[in-house]
Symmetry: C2
Subunit: 170 residues, 2 copies
């Protein structure tokens, strides 16, 4: 039985969610939108996905009502991508993946976080143990302010540069 059948056949909301976002690329696209990266090439540079793959994922996300396109250039026709309310409701999942990753995936003690997040209202540092305040559910990254570490900013700049080089060469 294939995945699509499984999803069509199930009452399980976890399986339904995973049919929409249970794919590494999809949640990385949503991460880029949280960072305010909205254009196809800029997202592609960070993900390293092929144009075909990224385009397929973006279309599926739009069809599922998780993101929406907004025209920013008429000639040539170009769009920016934005999370819808349904897409923004994935913020809590991204936050939990962040916490789990910091705690359990190649953790280096006292390593600087890739992004320093601070909770705007309380000033609290949002580390891997931070708890969502009860009056702020569902969680939104809009309640935080973030600052990328020099290391992570460098990683992203290198990806942008390599992407431009590869694109020019092709």
């Amino acid at each position: 039985m294939g995945w699509e059948e499984e999803v069509g056949n199930t009452l399980c909301p976890i399986a339904k969610s995973l049919s929409a976002v249970g794919d590494r690329w999809t949640l990385l696209i949503m991460r880029e939108l949280v960072f305010g990266v909205r254009r196809f090439d800029d997202i592609q540079a960070q993900l390293g996905a092929s144009s075909f793959l990224l385009s397929t994922r973006l279309k599926r996300l739009e069809k599922d009502g998780i993101i929406e396109r907004r025209l920013y250039s008429a000639k040539p026709e170009r769009y920016e991508y934005y999370a819808t309310a349904k897409g923004r409701a994935l913020d809590s999942i991204l936050l939990m993946l962040r916490s789990w990753g910091i705690q359990y995936c190649d953790h280096v003690p006292n390593e600087e976080p890739a992004v320093h997040f601070r909770h705007k209202a309380s000033g609290e540092v949002v580390d891997e143990f931070w708890k969502i305040p009860h009056h702020e559910w569902p969680f939104s990254f809009d309640t935080l302010e973030g600052r990328m570490s020099v290391g992570y900013e460098t990683e992203r700049e290198i990806k942008r540069r390599n992407f431009r080089k590869t694109k020019k060469a092709s």
Copy 2:
């Protein structure tokens, strides 16, 4: 650039997490372990994955320290699968996927949930808006009691039956 390179190169904890669990099958395996389904065939019956695919995923999860095997039969050699502490720490992600699925994926108003969860300590119904109590972070499904709906129990029984039939036929 392929996925493995992306992961090897990144400081982003979300990307690191997704390299371990950013796969629909993986989180569905973890869901089965939450339900107490521990044996290869029983997990396979619910996921509908091929033996090869399930076996690959289980080995990877074990290598990543997310699950562990325990021998339950010496002849033939058979194992049961258990979530480790690292694996149980994914409970909050499963809970958020459940909430998001109930709210946004094929939602039928007033539909019976696939699993009725109740918070043991408070007696609260754990619906899609339920908030994890602050003194109970990190969230664990152990703090809830669950009862499957008749519809979902039937769905799972049909899958078990079809799996046995297919297995006998092959």
